[in-house]
Each structure stands twice: as C-alpha cells, then as structure tokens.
Amino acid sequence: LGQPRNTDSFDYANYHTLSEIYSFQDMLVAENPDFVSKIVIGQSYEGRPLNVLKFSTGGSNRPAIWIDTGIHAREWITQASGLWFAKKIVTDYGKDPAITAILNNMDIFLEIATNPDGYYFTHVSNRMWRKTRKPNPGYSCPGVDPNRNWDAGFGLGGSSGYPCSETYRGPSPHSESEVRSIVEFVQSHGNIKAFISIHAYSQMLLYPYGYTTASAKDEAELYALAQKAVNSLTSMYGTRYTYGNIIDTIYQASGGTVDWTYNQGIKYSYTYELRDTGYYGFLLPPNQIIPTAQETWSSLMVLMDHAYKNPY
C-alpha cells in the first residue's frame, strides 16, 4: 500500500525516505535492464549500500560523467533532484538528440544517496544533520563532513579539526567509507571526464580550487563553461546563480570533492549549490523540487554536452 508500482507513478514532487530511494533505483533498473544498472561501490559506516546507477548504451570503459547528490545529508533538494535526473535520463534517451548523442558515446554514473547514514538520520532523528555517522573516539559528537575529507589540501584552512564542528575533516584523508568508495571507483574506472557534485543552497556553480588561491590550469575554460551553464539555468525560471572558483566565490574550503577530482585529471569538475528561495534554506518546500531539478538539468546538459564535444 502506498508504494509506487513503477517509476512512472513515482512521486517526484515529494521528498522520500532512503528505503523509497533504494526501491526507486531497483525499479528503474528492472524497467530498463539494457540501459540502467546498479553498481554497489561500497558500504556506509552503518552498513548501507552505496548505490550508483550506471546509464550505458554499451561499450567498454567508455568515457564517463559522474553526478552525485546528497553528500550533505540535510540538503534534501539534492537527493530529490537526483531521483528526477535519473528518470529524466531514461525518458529523454532516444528522444532528445543531445542526451542521446552523449549516451551513445559516454556513460553516466549517478549516486543519489551519497551519504545514506546521514540521510536516514535526517528522517528519523535530526532533520538538520549534515555529516556522516561514524563515531569519533573520545568525543560525543559523531560524524565527519564528507566534503572536507578528500585528499586535496586536507587539513588546510576552511575545515575543522574539532569533531563537533559541522566542517570536521576527519582523522585522515578518505577516512570515511562514503568518500573512500568514490575515490576507489574513480581511480579504478580511470576514464571519468566530468565530475559534478551537487549541494544546496546558495545558487552557485563552482569549480576548483577551494583549498588554494592558485588558479586551476583550465580556469578560463571552466569559467566560460560555468557562465554558459548558468545562463541556461537562469533562462528557465529566472533563478540567478553566481559562479567561479570556490575560494574566491565562497571562502576557503579544504579537502573538497571537486578539488580532488580535478587533481586526478578530471578537467570538468564542478559543484553546485542549488536553489534558495530565500525563506526556507534546507527546508525547501516540495513544490520547489521539480522546478529546481528542471533548471539544474538544463545546466547539467550544458556541462555534459561540452564534456562530450571536447574530449581530452
């Protein structure tokens, strides 16, 4: 009772529990067995599977695009958008020439619940939880900020060494299985060309670096592409974004996801801060989910299309 029978009847305009997200992923795979598969890249600290949906039309180790949502647990609009993206990819393949061309040449990997322990905790105990859930020995405060745990300027300014801080970086780089699993996946794949990590909320599209004021060597191209992607996003509902490198646009943040991916050679490394209506912050009303996902998708298509048309 109350469970959608397929991904057509799934309610994309509402927030969902972790088990509903897992069920959705299984349904999408079952409905599209030749196109969508589920890869379990690891386990969270509490033993939950770290599921990644792979959208592929064939080939072996094709160049790929990675998208993750929900690495910060309380940013519910991101997981909800991830569900919508997954369905959008399936719906548009074969109909929309741009996504069809991309998928005929590249694979897309989508991790919707990147921090499943944290997401579960936001549903049952603390809606405002951001971090992972691994205990910190000697402290009553559990969890690590998984966006400060990467081996890119780890421990520099813009992260905390205090376990009770919301930006606690963890004891060592990649100490969190939720992070380490992505690291191992990216390195073993070896052919990821674009990596997009999605957060909320400040209405920004950002690229490396966050830990240093040094410019990324592809700064000019990354800036121009961000501008183009933001223009596309804004054209849909008028949502205004800022864009630029992380350290100049927000503040210094070390140990961040896309700094690591960029240093691994993934040129098109971007991170989003999704829509902020100005009144709700992390509590964006569910009627904002679909417009947020739609406008974000519009800009994601710009990034993905550019990565496809500019091989390196």
């Binding site: 646009t249 009144y279 992390f282 569910p286």
Partner: protein, 93 residues
C-alpha cells in the same frame, strides 16, 4: 527525535569588514550553539544561522551590540518540519 521547537533561522547581512570577519568566526562561538547554514562570503551577502531558543536572546544581543542588520528567515523551524512530515505521510498514502 529532535523537534527544533523554538529554533529560528536568522539572516544576517554584513555591512563592513569588521562585521564580515566577525561572521566568519560564528562557528567557533560555541557559547551560542549555532548551526551556520550559509556562511559569510562577502559584504552584503546574507549569512543564515540556526539559533536554539536557549541562546537566542544572548545571540541577538551580540548582533545588536555589534550593530548587525538581521531578519528572521524562519520564524519556527518546528512548524515547517511538522508540515514537511505531514506532506510526506500524505504523499506516501
């Protein structure tokens, strides 16, 4: 379950460099038990902070002493969370 009863989110806009640097240190001000939702970036860019009820008065005094302009972005977090939960339950049914 944490209900967040009495918690508010304040939106603070730094107007000068001194205010900006004070806001950049909010997370270290343990006595207020703040949850910084959106950190300080630049002048005129708003900072959003969740404040629990038992430190609300002290934190507002701190803001007023330092001549910050602020507004209440979320008056009652609990009310929004309750509505969110009801909406999810309704949708699931």
């Amino acid at each position: 379950r944490e209900t967040f009863e009495g918690h508010q989110v304040l939106r603070i806009v730094p107007k000068n460099g001194v205010q900006l640097s004070l806001l950049r240190n909010l997370e270290e001000m343990m006595e207020f038990e703040l949850d910084v939702w959106k950190g300080a970036t630049r002048l005129s860019s708003p900072v959003d902070v969740r404040v629990p009820p038992h430190t609300m008065q002290a934190f507002k005094s701190f803001l007023e002493t330092n001549e910050f302009e602020y507004s209440i972005m979320i008056e009652d977090i609990k009310a929004i969370l309750d509505a969110e939960r009801k909406q999810m339950e309704f949708a699931a049914r």
